[in-house]
C-alpha cells in the first residue's frame, strides 16, 4: 500500500466512522485539539485500524503520535 492509498483509507475512516469534518484533517492537525479525538475515540480507533489494516495498535507505540501526519507515519511503519 503506497502512502496516498494509506492516507485515503485513514481519512475515510476518520470522516465516516468518527464523523470528523474533512477540513479539519490536514498533516499538522492535532488529533485531540484540532480533530476532537478523545480517549474513548482511541478505543474505537484500535478496532477500526485492526479492521482496515490488519494490526492492533499498541498504546505504548502511540506515545508522541499527536498529529494526523504522525498517525499515518505510524500506520505506514506497521503496515510495511
Amino acid at each position: 500500500m503506497n502512502r496516498t492509498e494509506l492516507e485515503e483509507k485513514v481519512k475515510n475512516f476518520l470522516i465516516e466512522d468518527l464523523e470528523i469534518d474533512e477540513e479539519k484533517i490536514f498533516p499538522d492537525a492535532k488529533l485531540k485539539e484540532d480533530m476532537g479525538i478523545d480517549s474513548l475515540d482511541f478505543v474505537d480507533i484500535v478496532v477500526i485500524v485492526e479492521k482496515n489494516f490488519g494490526f492492533k495498535i499498541k498504546p505504548e507505540e502511540m506515545v508522541g503520535v499527536d498529529t494526523y501526519a504522525k498517525f499515518c507515519d505510524y500506520i505506514e511503519t506497521k503496515v510495511n
Binding site: G36, D38, L40, D41, V43, D44, V46, V47, E50, K56
Partner: protein, 399 residues
C-alpha cells in the same frame, strides 16, 4: 410529555392513532429466521440521530436510549425547558428500563470470535447496562438531580412515574424527567418468545393483540419510549409552564405468591386501591381505566377480576391500548400514562380494538371496543410485571 411508539412519533400522531383505533403491529420476518415462534411486533421507526447530535453524545446510546432521547426532547420542549434552563437548574431523571440485549449479545459475539476485549470498542459498555437510558439522558441534557434507572419488569415505566411523583411530593426535587423505554430488536425478546406467550396470528397482524377477547392467542411485543416531565405544581405555575395533567396517586404492591409469572387479582387490586387512596378518589370518581391487559388469558383474567371487584357498577370506561400497541413492556406503564393523558386532553376514550367476543371474566366490565367521545377528568392506569410487581397511577385533568 413526549412519545416515540408504533402509534406515532409525536403527541399529535399518537392522538390520531388512538382516536382511530389504528394498530401499530406488523411482521418482522427476521424473527422467524432467527428462530422465534412469532414474527409479530410493534413496528417502531428508528430515529435518525446522525446530524442531529454530535457523535460523542450519540456513541453510548442503545436502541432504547435513542427512543428515550427522542421522547424526552419532545417532553422538555413541550414543558418549555431549554438547554439554558437545564444548565442552570436541578432536574432529576428516573427512567424505567429492564434490558439492553443487543449490545450485550453483539459484544459477546465479538468476544467469542476474537477473544480480545481491546477489539470491542468503547460503546458497548454504555449501551449494554440497564441504566443505559439514564446515563445517556443525564449526560446529554446535563441533568443535575436524582439519577437512577428503575427496573421492575413490565411495570418499570409506571413505577418510574410513581417514584418521580414521590420525590416531588416529598419536596426533594422540583422537576424530574421520568418515563420508560423498550428495545424492539429481535435479540431482546427471544427469551420471552421461548415461553410461548406471543400470539402466532401472523396472517392478520393488526388483529393479533386482543386483550379480554375470548379468541386471543397471546401477546405481541412492542416498544419505543415515553417521557414525562413531572414538576412541583407551584413551581410549574410560577414558571408559566403548560400543565397537561396532575399526577395525584401512586399505588404499588407485590403479589406475595410463589409463581414468578403468575398474576394475582388481589395484588392488582391492592395497587389500584392504594393509588386511589393516595389520590383521595373513589372508584365512582374514575372516568377511565387504562388496563394493563396484555392479551394473555391468565393476565387478562386476573386483572378483569380485580377491576370487577373494585369497579362493578361504576361508570369508568375501560380499555387496553395494548390492543393497538402490543405490549410495550418496560415502557408500557409510561406510554400508557401518555396515551391516557392524550385522551384526557382531547375528550375521548380510545378503543380496546379486536374485542369481538368478550371472555367469561369481563361480563361486568365497562369495556369499550369503540372510540367514545366523552369528558375524562380522572384516569387510572395499571401496570403489572413478572415477579408480582404491581403499579397503578391516578392522574387528574387540570381545571
Amino acid at each position: 410529555m413526549g412519545i416515540w411508539s408504533c402509534l406515532g412519533t409525536s403527541l399529535e400522531e399518537v392522538k390520531e392513532s388512538l382516536y382511530n383505533g389504528k394498530s401499530g403491529i406488523g411482521i418482522e420476518q427476521e424473527r422467524l429466521t432467527y428462530g422465534y415462534q412469532s414474527a409479530l411486533t410493534g413496528i417502531v421507526p428508528k430515529p435518525m440521530l446522525k446530524g442531529l447530535i454530535d457523535r460523542h453524545l450519540r456513541r453510548g446510546l442503545s436502541e432504547e436510549a435513542e427512543y428515550a432521547l427522542m421522547a424526552s426532547s419532545q417532553a422538555f420542549k413541550q414543558a418549555g425547558i431549554d438547554d439554558e434552563y437545564l444548565l442552570n437548574n436541578e432536574v432529576g431523571c428516573i427512567f424505567g428500563n429492564d434490558s439492553s440485549a443487543k449490545p450485550v449479545i453483539e459484544a459477546a459475539k465479538i468476544m467469542d470470535e476474537k477473544h480480545d476485549t481491546e477489539l470491542l470498542g468503547q460503546s458497548f459498555i454504555f449501551q449494554a447496562m440497564n441504566s443505559t437510558v439514564n446515563m445517556n439522558l443525564s449526560t446529554i441534557f446535563h441533568l443535575k438531580g436524582v439519577n437512577f434507572t428503575l427496573s421492575a419488569a413490565c411495570a418499570s415505566g409506571s413505577h418510574s412515574i410513581g417514584l418521580a411523583y414521590m420525590f416531588i411530593k416529598n419536596g426533594l426535587q422540583d422537576m424530574v424527567l421520568c418515563g420508560g423505554a423498550q428495545e424492539t430488536n429481535y435479540y431482546s425478546m427471544a427469551s420471552f418468545d421461548a415461553l410461548g406467550a406471543f400470539s402466532k396470528n401472523m396472517d392478520d397482524p393488526t388483529k393479533a393483540s386482543r386483550p379480554f377477547d375470548r379468541d386471543r392467542d397471546g401477546l405481541v411485543p412492542g416498544g419505543g419510549a415515553a417521557a414525562l416531565v413531572l414538576e412541583d405544581y407551584d413551581h410549574a405555575v410560577a414558571r408559566g409552564a403548560e400543565i397537561l395533567a396532575e399526577i395525584v396517586g401512586y399505588g404499588f404492591s407485590s403479589n406475595g405468591t410463589s409463581g414468578i409469572s403468575q398474576p394475582s387479582d388481589e395484588g392488582c387490586a391492592r395497587a389500584m386501591m392504594r393509588a386511589m387512596e393516595d389520590a383521595g378518589v373513589k372508584p365512582s370518581d374514575v372516568d377511565y381505566i387504562n388496563a394493563h391487559a396484555t392479551s394473555t388469558r391468565q393476565g387478562d383474567m386476573y386483572e378483569a377480576m380485580a377491576i370487577d371487584k373494585l369497579f362493578r357498577g361504576e361508570h369508568a370506561l375501560i380499555s387496553s391500548t395494548k390492543s393497538m400497541t402490543g405490549h410495550e413492556c418496560w415502557m408500557a406503564g409510561a406510554s400508557e400514562m401518555v396515551y391516557s393523558i392524550i385522551m384526557m386532553l382531547n375528550d375521548f376514550v380510545a378503543p380496546n380494538i379486536n374485542l369481538e367476543n368478550r371472555d367469561e371474566h369481563t361480563e361486568h366490565l365497562n369495556l369499550t371496543s369503540k372510540t367514545v367521545d366523552t369528558k375524562v377528568d380522572i384516569i387510572l392506569s395499571n401496570s403489572f410485571g413478572f415477579g408480582g410487581t404491581n403499579s397503578a397511577l391516578v392522574a387528574r385533568k387540570m381545571k
